[in-house]
Symmetry: C2
Subunit: 452 residues, 2 copies
């Protein structure tokens, strides 16, 4: 495991010095391996441990002797084991740390991701920093969330996989992020808390200062069993969490994809100021289903005012032989406008009308390439996106993009290219209609609760 | 468009003769193009039309003269246009068909997919047949559903994209499937119905005979506007649909992915006979969240009886240096069992215990390759799946597989390979934890309502 950490740090462009330590000595990826911590020349700031649990109290003392302020423990086998020896070992570790004056991350965690310094626990995390702080008791969940949100244009100030939280806890981290000027919003995957009163106070202050998104794991009896075995957490009653999150106006999500959606919704500029949505894009059936989802979530899909409706018909007549197979009402199906100019004229009419608080473009990736071979249809999504970006540049209207219905690696590549294009232009991209609607609803609710 | 249909039919291996018709003549993909329908030598069974709407009544008469029984109209611009001329044209078309004694599919539809004859409207649909009949008013939704469910191992008897349903309706099709011996279950995307009483009668008989899955589009006022412009449908009240579907015990789903999940759940053998679930797989955080989702849906995650729990510990002790970082309770996190034998021993213990009605393997595709480079971890999912299939072969326990958390085309390829392996062995594969739980819950409810 030590090897994997070295590799991650090197490939992440870690900007500090890296000292592998292992009693066997040798070399890892061009770096000399020190046999003991004390052999390292000079001071050590931060230690990552993958050694067996029984050796860790001594490691804490050795780390303190070298000047380290924090030791992060990938090492597992503590309270989460459910065994007395494990709990006792965790207590001993904490006592050793307190006595030596160092702080502990974990144990049973992946530690820090901090793009500014190049600290990381996966080599493919974004190298540039942003405003999102993310904390999670689960290392696996951390990797997936950072990876998937990262691909979607979300950038992080710091992320912390903090495992069993025997010393540094969610409260410490959240308190830090209240005043951390690099951090504009906070997302947390939490299995259990140690100090409910302090947590309530800290969450209240944090949520008053910045948007907070919470995914509570172990919120059922079955999940709580798992949380206890996973990070030694006492998971607590779901009802009290629901009440607490409602009171503090933190945003509650139910899985990591919903969390990524919410980070996308909050991270990208151009939040809608109301619930009047224009849905437009490809395929009548998806237009119908998208409209249903928005209406069910409490959005409105108003129609264009008559003069603008007239203009839309004129634009379509100018650029298409007929309007057969299209829907020229909201939700608009403009699949059959084949030209960039025509698409741009149609979208510009919607944007200029002032009838909508939010433009939502929905595009089926799989269907837009009908049939599944190279054909005139294959090019259409690209033309559509170019028109969309041109209209957005010109009008600045709040716009969200849903690129959905992906069934094949080729389609995922196509999706990726369009996604990057939209994101680079500042537009949030979702990959599921229902999850997009959920995130946009939560965004509008959140902003209504927190007027700027 | 005619060209696209010819291409689809050729690439789908259509087993009949194909006659392109266009006044311009010439050749399409090696086939001579007839200038008029009447120039075709001999009888014609089935006609697909992409010609302008105003010419279609004559086409119906010409088709009848050549002996055709059905004409399928891709042609749009009828009642769905919302214009008087469109409605009148649709009426005229229907009158012409009735007078000539032919049946109409559509207009505004993609028509038939029938793997047995090679009729198809997308070249990549499965070439082999199965038991699922699918009907949809939307061509785009048809393409996506068949494509995505097809990749997931679902096979179709017939699928019909039937558009405006001016002649052949959902009632006609559903009635046909009641007795169609090739069809074991029916899925339908419906925007509107023309005869509510008949629909109720037919659905009642169909749902009593075979599982029926319904996705109702246009079930909100906003969606209804779209449905009317999409297929000229009167969408009806959502409440009455809810009641009707509950009464007839049809399975209601809310999007096409849920529909595909349900087809997967019903199509694959090994339905669970109860709600006692063993969840096992990778990553503690995902184990916690999977457990939460199952419990919330009304499943149980019982623990192993003590002797079996003992055996599990022994198996892990035999094959792993320690159990650190694992969860040896339900939900089981067995990521750290590195060997095939160890994984097999652990899974076999769960399967043999008799404590569970359903084995659920959950595997994070993105995380299992941690770090995102080739490493020992990259091979783990493959080893895990091989062990799973071996235990399933040996014990025959009902098993479902969730391969989730895909962020990259490379991961989707990895996913695809594992998915195919599981599906070939008869195991259903889901790509989302919450949607898998939803489908399995609906499956158990459906089977409880319809004892074999």
């Amino acid at each position: 495991m030590g090897h994997a950490f070295v590799q991650c740090l090197q490939d992440s462009g870690f900007r500090g010095r890296l000292y592998p330590v292992n009693p066997a000595g040798g070399e890892i990826r061009g770096l000399p391996v020190y046999r003991r911590l004390s052999d390292i020349p000079g001071r050590v700031d931060y230690v990552i441990s993958c050694i067996p649990a029984r050796l860790t109290p001594q490691l804490v003392r050795d780390s303190a002797a070298k000047g380290a302020r924090v030791v992060s423990f990938f090492t597992a086998g503590y309270s989460e084991s459910g065994r007395r020896e494990g709990r006792e070992m965790e207590d001993e570790l904490l006592r050793a740390a307190r006595a030596a004056g160092v702080r502990l991350l974990g144990p049973n965690c992946l530690g820090l991701y901090c793009p500014e310094t190049g600290l990381s626990f996966a080599a493919d995390f974004p190298k540039d920093k942003g405003g999102v702080a993310f904390i999670a008791q689960s290392g696996g969940n951390s990797i997936y969330l950072i990876r998937t949100a990262g691909r979607r244009g979300v950038r992080f100030s710091k992320a912390v996989s903090y495992g069993n939280a025997c010393d540094v806890s969610e409260c410490d981290l959240m308190e830090y992020f209240i005043t951390d000027s690099d951090t504009t919003m906070v997302a947390a995957y939490i299995e259990g808390i140690r100090d409910a009163r302090r947590f309530r106070r800290v969450l209240q202050r944090l949520a008053a200062a910045k948007p907070v998104i919470i995914l509570k794991g172990g919120s059922t009896p079955g999940g709580a069993v798992a949380a206890s075995s996973h990070t030694g957490s006492l998971a607590g009653q779901d009802e009290s969490w629901e009440g607490l999150l409602r009171q503090t106006r933190a945003i509650r999500v139910h899985d990591l994809d919903e969390m990524a959606d919410m980070l996308v919704a909050l991270s990208f500029p151009g939040h809608p100021r109301g619930r009047r949505v224009a849905v437009f894009g490809s395929n009548g059936g998806f237009s119908v289903l998208t409209a249903d989802d928005f209406i069910r979530a409490g959005f409105e899909l108003p129609q264009l005012d008559p003069p603008w409706q007239q203009r839309l018909h004129e634009a379509v007549a100018r650029f298409s032989r007929s309007d057969a197979g299209m829907i020229l009402k909201n939700p608009f199906d403009i699949t059959n406008i084949a030209s960039a100019e025509g698409l741009q004229a149609a979208m510009k009419t919607m944007a200029d009308s002032g009838c909508f608080d939010l433009m939502v473009a929905q595009l089926s990736i799989s269907n837009s390439g009908w049939p599944f071979v190279d054909s005139p249809f294959t090019a259409w999504p690209g033309i559509f996106v170019d028109a969309l970006l041109a209209v957005h540049r010109e009008t600045g209207r709040p716009t969200a993009v849903i690129l959905h219905s992906i069934t094949h690696p080729v389609e995922l590549e196509r999706f990726g290219a369009l996604q990057q294009k939209c994101q680079s232009a500042g537009l949030p991209v979702y990959d599921s209609i229902p999850r997009a609607v959920l995130a946009l609803d939560r965004l509008v609710r959140h902003n209504a609760n927190h007027p700027a």
